[in-house]
Subunit: 203 residues, 2 copies
Amino acid sequence: MTFTTAHLSMSLDGYVAGPDQSLDQPLGRDGISLHRWHIGPDDERHEVDVRWSDRILRPGCSYVMGRNMFGPVRGPWDTWPEEWRGWWGEEPPYHAPVFVLTHHEHEPIEMAGGTTFHFVTGGFDEALRLARAASGGDVDIAGGASAVRQALGAGELDELTLDVVPVVLGAGERLLDGSVRPSLELVESESSPLATHVRYRVG
Amino acid sequence: MTFTTAHLSMSLDGYVAGPDQSLDQPLGRDGISLHRWHIGPDDERHEVDVRWSDRILRPGCSYVMGRNMFGPVRGPWDTWPEEWRGWWGEEPPYHAPVFVLTHHEHEPIEMAGGTTFHFVTGGFDEALRLARAASGGDVDIAGGASAVRQALGAGELDELTLDVVPVVLGAGERLLDGSVRPSLELVESESSPLATHVRYRVG
């Protein structure tokens, strides 16, 4: 029994990250504007946003992640001055195995708190298989756009949650670029001033 | 005192019409899939969809409409075999003056039920001025994408309502193509299985 989800914040024009990702701008130019709804202390945010941000990470699952979501390093890992260990400091919020898609081999990196980054060079299907084996079947595709499209293209995504944020980025990483046309069915939806949260079942 | 709105159905990938508009496909290929939520008898539709479809037309306002929304005719009007009088039959649902943006002059067309199509060759600003004069200030930009972007670009839109439909068109007329980046503030939102309806104030 497997269950595979993805949960992304998306601009009104369909972008899940801004352009020009770099060490200083992990989410690309203006990409941070997609995430204001879940940043900051709970008691300073809208109750709807608190409720939906509690669902970004799912206890008990493992994760599949695209390489650009893991870091700004491009090409072979050893071109970076020191070992890149993710954007999240020594204790990433995943507390679970995370399978990073890459074309370049890398030993696993064990972090504090139960997160281990595994590097998978065999493609999306292999990463999903390993992630399912690690968790017993429950997997979240953490992002970015390309990894989620690969899950949709493979027919392996069961649920897609989008936080539609009323900003227009104009450029960046588009989630639905026309290469996949999933059949989606609304399960539930709720809005705060900062985002319209929608959970879809993928047909 | 003026008040200017627009209300469009949009796919999850940002299109408000499919590609290849023609006489047989007024909304472009698959464009009809954006409008299922407001087609059919009220008692066969979701109550949420009935409520929001009651807001597509606004009694008391006049309308501005792009030429492609008015019809499939391109270039001079007399290249079409007979006079094109819109997609809506002899009694269009507007019951008000409708100002159609065009590069080619055309006498007004008076339809049954109070709708008159006026043809404006002086550009969006002139069409909006005429529409405001006709109604006393209350105007709805009926569509399509380009007309709404012109209203946003001119800083003249007060409210934008989007019915976000969980389909992926992959091609067509994109509403937010990056040429305008409005500041939007959510006013209210409600979902049915067929659409997530969101009303934004334009800042």
